[in-house]
């Protein structure tokens, strides 16, 4: 085959088995759809993109590093592009930096900032295409305060209880919530209490929380199934408070298990498919390609990352195989400099962090940041209600069925 029509191998490390397999399947779908669309338009200067998937199973450091090495050594991938892999703690950056290829992921980890800034020359190709998990904390506190200050919700007190899972992701979010609470007039009355996860047993910790009588209960663990059990056990004898569950509750698995108990729950994602024309059209294409059981709002992550990479590689004049540092530095330069509006908001890399900047918690300009979207499960038969932030919200907050309702007031 002529070199000019030879496929460009693109690696993707996705958890196709294990607790995040549901997300992994969507990340795979997103890559497939993006490559199909790109190839239909001629690929990269006539070369088709060829996605190669490596299963990261439980996403431990060992599994993710093995996947990265397999993709680089066996398949000579020019880039690794995927959704998230929690647990590798950036171990995979080492073989990737040694090979000098591009790595775009949605690991949502604060430590990405530290690793990249510790040696920007070495980690030039490592990009985090979503904001660090840290931003979930202050973003959530601002959201609560917005509900309170606009009179949509009258909290019975200023008390917040925080439960964390045992992954670094959950712990960082819980710490960040606790750190920013006081600035907005909230008091942490419980936690952050770290619970060993995965688990489906939450009754003990719920009882501990009950004793602190909070106005808000936040659980920063993120496995959809575990959170569904949490919510079922919570509504057995609910506390009169708002319930916020971390990212996993956006997944269909959550509502499938929690059923009626899920109505009223608030959940957020710093990577969420928008409901504008662009988002809707993508959702239609995605559902048409992968069926009504697929979740476009998760598949959009790897989809956007792949498209963004393809544009950057084209701007740079081509992609680079392992060892072609010079070409890949050009691709990295294009990725860093480009403000790329995609189906879930804007990918704009912070020049030092090489991570996406979130809106509205860091930038006030929606065109320069990826929106931190807040949803509420209001009707099991309908999609999640997008209740914040402006200007993306399409619905309003409603009181969860287990809560006593103060008279809503407006300022």
């Amino acid at each position: 085959m002529d070199d000019r029509s030879k496929p460009v191998p693109i690696g993707s490390m996705v958890p196709l088995t294990g607790p995040s397999a549901a997300d992994g399947a969507e990340f795979r779908n997103g890559m497939i759809l993006a490559c199909e669309e790109l190839n239909a338009r001629g690929g990269l200067f006539g070369r088709p993109f060829q996605p190669i998937f490596a299963d990261t199973c439980r996403q431990t450091a060992k599994e993710v590093v093995t996947a990265a090495r397999w993709l680089i050594e066996k398949h000579q991938v020019h880039a690794i592009i995927n959704g998230y892999n929690i647990g590798a703690q950036n171990s995979e950056y080492e073989p990737i930096a040694d090979a000098g290829i591009i790595y775009v992921h949605a690991n949502t980890l604060l430590q990405h900032h530290d690793t990249v800034m510790s040696d920007p020359q070495r980690y030039f190709g490592c990009f985090m295409a979503d904001p660090a998990e840290y931003w979930y904390g202050p973003g959530f506190i601002k959201f609560l305060s917005w509900l309170r200050d606009t009179g949509q919700w009258i909290p019975k007190s200023d008390r917040i209880a925080i439960i964390s899972g045992s992954t670094p992701y959950s712990i960082v979010i819980a710490n960040a919530m606790a750190n920013s609470a006081a600035s907005f007039g909230w008091k942490v009355c419980f936690g952050p209490k770290i619970v060993q996860t995965p688990t489906s047993q939450w009754r003990d910790v719920i009882e501990e929380v009950r004793a602190s009588d909070p106005a808000v209960l936040a659980n920063t663990h993120f496995y959809a199934g575990d959170l569904a059990y949490f919510q079922r056990q919570f509504v057995e004898n609910p506390i009169d408070c708002l319930v916020y569950l971390q990212y996993g509750a956006v997944h269909r698995t959550f509502t499938d298990i929690a059923q009626e108990a899920s109505v009223g729950v608030i959940v957020s994602s710093i990577v969420g498919l928008l409901r504008d024309e662009m988002g809707k059209r993508f959702e239609e294409r995605y559902t048409a390609r992968f069926g009504s059981g697929s979740t476009a709002s998760i598949g959009c992550q790897s989809y956007s990352n792949m498209h963004h990479y393809a544009v950057a590689a084209a701007m740079a004049g081509g992609s680079g195989a392992p060892g072609n540092f010079e070409q890949n530095r050009k691709v990295a330069f294009a990725l860093r400099g480009m403000i790329y509006r995609t189906v879930h908001g804007t990918i704009r890399y912070h020049p030092d962090w090489q991570a996406v900047v979130p809106y509205p918690v860091v930038t006030r300009d929606p065109s320069l940041g990826m929106p931190h979207i807040f949803y509420q499960i209001q009707d099991l038969k309908e999609r999640l209600s997008m209740i914040a932030p402006e200007p993306y919200n399409t619905e309003r907050f409603v009181y969860p069925p287990w809560m006593s309702k103060g008279a809503p007031r407006r300022l």
């Binding site: 439980r58 431990t60 450091a61 060992k62 599994e63 590093v65 647990g87 590798a88 703690q89 950036n90 171990s91 950056y93 080492e94 604060l110 430590q111 900032h113 530290d114 690793t115 510790s118 660090a132 840290y134 904390g137 202050p138 506190i141 601002k142 305060s145 917005w146 309170r148 200050d149 200023d158 045992s166 992954t167 670094p168 712990i171 960082v172 710490n175 960040a176 750190n179 920013s180 006081a182 600035s183 907005f184 007039g185 770290i194 060993q196 509205p360 918690v361 860091v362 006030r364 932030p389 402006e390 300022l411």
Partner: protein, 518 residues
């Protein structure tokens, strides 16, 4: 009749040279005949001004064109402009006009001997800009000079008294033998110094305001943090006077300059404490329109109605018969007022003699989504990383490695306590002040091994503290020996991600420890 376009018909070489010379100048030139007909326009006019005039045009046509032109900003309505232009034919005039393009043109009109006139058009934009800049610079320099003079007058006026006291106190203190009296004098010296410090600070602020150096930066923020800072700043002062100082922080976002609002409020609170002898000071908010009114309420002596206007003036002091207390400087409220004016925040005052006063400032509500989490937007793992604040004991006998490892761990937010050997490590945990949640130890530590030192620390603290051994000795027998002791091991040079994974698993997910061994 000459226009620049028909120059080629001129045979007279000298005349041609004159036309060419007139065309070369950048100034525009018109020559009007006594019959009020435009007989000459030079190329300079065509190059620089976009007006549809041509040779042969009569003056009435030209006057109408000028009067209705949107290109030149000439005062008065079109009719008035037309009449003025017509009346001015043949009259010597000089005037500057601004063009729509932003240029300034000087138009000079002079009568000719034959009853006509010459009009020249000169672009003076650069000259005028320089003149304006010079004028502004001069005004700024004069304002600065005035500010400096005021500063010196005020310094002379207000620094003299505490300086004189200080001089006497120092003189007396040197000779004083009685410890108690010496202590009293030192206290008085402290008071005099703090008065001077306050005064210089206030004068500096006034100076900055006078020089126009204070530039507001409007942001959205929560008042609660600002109130907390004020509480810390003034609590001691209020307690010393036996006053209650209370802040009721609202859970609202406001939009203004955070630092300048703090200076306004700190002047209000400082003033309230200074002029209150009994009771206390309360700082709270009330919603008013689309904003908050921040009230500083005291139970002090109050202010007479007739003083309300003057109280915000520079160096104004309410007549004060109480000589015991530290005098006000008469600058605080002036600063507060001027800062509030700069921020366009209305200030309020309610007061009754004998009952107390309420100073207030109104601030607009801000958008909570736009408010900063704290003054510093940048984040790092030291703020909220998973290891933030976790105390750790590091035992490494190599100075360079100990230092570099300490730096790495601190970047992750860990509270590192480093020791070179067993003795130093035991000393660190001896009094119980440091209770490490993790130990990282080198394997070869002078006379002891890492596992021995870990055992000694665990024995000293009575805790089975999780630990990691790092070693440059990759001998399988050594590694196996460490693992047999139930301690995970990392080979030097330690990979930061591996260390991080191992630390995380030891602290939070011990079940995953085996799979972390990559």
């Amino acid at each position: 009749m000459r226009d620049a376009s028909d120059r080629h018909s001129v045979n007279d070489a000298r005349l041609a040279a004159i036309w060419a010379g007139l065309d070369a100048t950048d100034d525009g030139i018109f020559v009007w005949s006594a019959e009020r007909v435009l007989v000459f326009i030079n190329e300079g006019f065509r190059r620089n001004w976009d007006l549809p005039v041509c040779a042969g045009m009569n003056y009435e046509e030209y006057a109408s064109l000028i009067a209705h032109s949107q290109e030149w900003m000439i005062p008065g309505g079109p009719d008035e402009r037309l009449q003025n232009t017509l009346n001015n034919f043949g009259v010597a005039t000089d005037a500057d006009y601004e063009c729509a393009s932003g240029h300034i043109v000087h138009v000079r009109q002079r009568p000719s001997a034959q009853g006509g006139m010459v009009v020249t058009f000169t672009d003076v934009t650069a000259i005028k800009r320089n003149e304006r800049e010079l004028r502004e610079a001069k005004e700024a320099a004069e304002a600065m000079d005035e500010a400096k003079s005021r500063f010196l007058r005020a310094a002379n006026h207000d620094l003299r008294q505490p300086l004189a006291s200080l001089k006497i106190l120092i003189y007396s203190c040197v000779r004083e033998q009685d410890d108690e009296k010496r202590a009293e004098m030192l206290h008085a010296m402290g008071v005099a110094t703090s008065i001077m410090e306050d005064l210089l600070g206030a004068l500096l602020q006034i100076g900055q305001l006078d020089a126009g150096r204070v530039q507001p930066r409007i942001t959205s923020f929560q008042l609660s943090e600002l109130f907390e800072r004020l509480h810390i700043q003034f609590n001691h002062q209020a307690s010393e006077k036996g006053l209650r100082l209370r802040f009721v922080a609202p859970s609202k976002t406001v939009a203004t300059d955070r630092a300048l609002l703090e200076r306004i409020l700190s002047n209000f609170v400082g003033n309230a404490i200074r002029f209150t002898e009994l009771g206390g000071v309360l700082v709270g908010c009330r919603k008013e329109g689309h904003g908050l009114r921040i009230n500083v309420i005291d139970t002090g002596r109050g202010i007479r109605q007739e003083d309300f206007g003057r109280i915000f003036e520079e160096f104004y002091r309410v007549t004060d018969n109480n000589q015991i207390q530290k005098k006000g400087l008469g600058l605080g409220l002036n600063i507060a007022k001027r800062l509030a004016d700069l921020l366009e925040l209305p200030i309020g005052l309610r007061s009754e003699v004998g009952s107390g006063s309420t100073f207030s400032v109104w601030v607009p509500l801000g958008n909570i989504w736009h408010s900063n989490i704290s003054a510093e937007v940048d984040i790092s793992e030291t703020v909220a990383g998973e290891f933030a604040g976790i105390p750790m004991l590091l035992i490494e006998d190599d100075d360079f490695l100990r230092e570099s490892m300490t730096q790495l761990l601190r970047r992750w937010g860990i509270d590192v306590h480093a020791a070179a050997n067993e003795d130093e490590a035991l000393e660190l945990v001896a009094d119980g002040e440091i209770v490490p949640r993790m130990i990282i130890a080198d394997y070869n530590l002078e006379v002891r091994t890492g596992p021995d030192v870990i055992a000694a620390i665990r024995a000293a603290t009575g805790e089975e503290t999780p630990a990691i051994i790092v070693t440059a000795d990759a001998e399988p027998r050594v590694i196996a020996g460490i693992r047999e002791a139930g301690i995970p091991v990392l080979i030097k040079p330690v990979s930061p991600p591996r260390l991080r994974v191992m630390m995380h698993n030891l602290l939070f997910e011990p079940d995953l420890l085996k799979s972390a061994d990559i």
